[in-house]
């Protein structure tokens, strides 16, 4: 059998590259990591992801794939040990639904609370909090979204436990309110403490500086 060649084009500060890394690690897949110096996108990135020109890009035996959740499902279907997705079609549909909810509802509201000011900021903060609260219901009384152990949905949304907290610190907002959503708050803590997950995390202080700078740039410099 030919040897599998797996490469991941990523960026150290990208949560989407991180969740793909988690999937690869959980499967024990050997891969070559290539750091992109964003915004100076390499010719390789532009060639492998001409459509969206973004990281992460997974290259498996020369064939590129983009979009982190698409990549994670591909990884799960190609390397079938330690399954990430549930078996039952209905449970799979729920996992996909909630991953989409997190990306399309929690993330934009979090971003808005990060970059806006005044009334808009307050409104976004409330909305983000409510969306996180809604996400909590998807745990359905289990320790992880995947059940007793972690699965697709855990790695799809776990990054928010880091990034939302950074937003809270930098923008001085409350998103994952511990008393309002104790179950979700606990899940974030437990998930991020898992060795495989923790090992892949970028250094927090570096992320803090990076995101502070990012915010300043988005808000137009001086406040």
């Amino acid at each position: 059998m030919a040897e599998d060649k797996v490469q991941l084009l990523g960026y150290w500060g990208s949560p989407f590259a991180l969740r793909v890394k988690w999937a690869l690690k959980l499967k024990g897949i050997q891969y070559e990591y290539l750091e992109e110096d964003l915004p100076n996108k390499s010719p390789m990135l532009l060639e492998l992801n001409p459509v969206l020109k973004k990281v992460p890009v997974l290259v498996h035996n020369g064939k590129p794939l983009a979009e982190s959740l698409v990549i994670i499902e591909y990884i799960d279907e190609t390397w079938t040990h330690n399954p990430l997705m549930p078996k039952d079609p209905y449970d799979r549909a729920k996992a996909r639904f909630w991953a989409k909810f997190a990306d399309e509802k929690c993330v934009p509201a979090t971003m808005s609370s990060f970059t806006k000011s005044g009334e808009e900021k307050e409104k976004a903060e409330k909305e983000a909090r409510e969306n996180f609260k809604t996400l909590e219901s998807a745990l359905e009384g289990k320790p992880f979204f995947g059940g007793e152990g972690i699965g697709f949905l855990d790695i799809a949304i776990g990054w928010l436990g880091i990034w939302a907290r950074l937003v809270e610190e930098i923008a001085e907002v409350t998103l994952i309110a511990d008393d309002y959503m104790p179950v979700l708050s606990k899940w974030f803590k437990d998930f991020l403490e898992l060795p495989t997950i923790k090992e892949a995390l970028p250094p927090r202080d570096k992320l803090l500086v990076h995101n502070k700078g990012f915010r300043e740039m988005l808000m137009g410099g001086s406040t």
Partner: protein, 218 residues
């Protein structure tokens, strides 16, 4: 075999509902269709999709599933005949990518451009056009989007192309034109003339009237 109860909550002018309907028809699934009045949503819809309160919602033996692409994957995994997604995992990943692109970057971006206020319109139109260029280039390069066998991507493209045509005409814009995107148009024309898709398309004038009223108040 136990009796299967399949219900689809939909709205006739939603392309996302159509995509799900075509999937059900291709699989030969018997289902009950419930037309929703979105101004006056039924208690059932609110019960089965409390989070988004939108259509389509599929109800299978009492279990609700929302979000059209999630529903289609569920349908494909539950009723195994006539696969809608490619069997090969790489092709399947490509199909997922392009299906999402078609919905978000083709339809929604163009819809946004048609609804934008004056000063944002040019930028939105440019973005919609850029997205179409991506489709055009991919088709020029590969001859197809996603996998080589007909399935979700082709169904979605055919439906979205139809809707976009109507929306453009009503809005009086021409972002997607045959001159600018000849390969895309040719591909759409040549897409399998499957009766299942064609029969599912609502009459153009009826759809146009609907969008006229949606866009009208601008």
């Amino acid at each position: 075999m136990a009796h299967e109860e399949v219900k689809l909550f939909g709205m006739w002018s939603s392309p996302f509902v159509r995509i799900v309907e075509v999937a059900l028809k291709i699989k030969g699934v018997q289902y009950e269709y419930i037309e929703e009045d979105l101004q006056n949503k039924s208690s059932q819809l609110l019960k089965y999709n409390p989070i988004h309160k939108k259509v389509p919602v599929l109800l299978h033996n009492g279990k609700p599933i929302a979000e059209s692409l999630v529903i289609v994957e569920y349908i494909d995994e539950t009723w195994k005949d006539n696969p809608i997604l490619p069997q090969d995992s790489f092709e399947r990943a490509q199909a997922r990518f392009w299906a999402k692109f078609i919905v978000v970057k083709w339809l929604l971006s163009l819809w946004k451009a048609c609804r934008c206020v004056e000063n944002e319109r040019e930028k939105a139109m440019e973005e919609a056009s850029e997205n179409l260029k991506i489709l055009e280039n991919e088709l020029k390069d590969k001859g197809f989007l996603g996998g080589e066998t007909i399935g979700l991507v082709e169904i979605a493209a055919k439906i979205i192309a139809y809707w976009v045509g109507v929306i453009q005409e009503v809005a009086g814009v021409e972002i997607m034109s045959r001159q600018k995107f000849p390969v895309l148009f040719k591909w759409i024309d040549e897409l399998f003339s499957c009766n299942v898709v064609n029969e599912s398309l609502p009459p153009k004038d009826k759809l146009a009237a609907r969008f006229r009223s949606l866009l009208g108040s601008r």
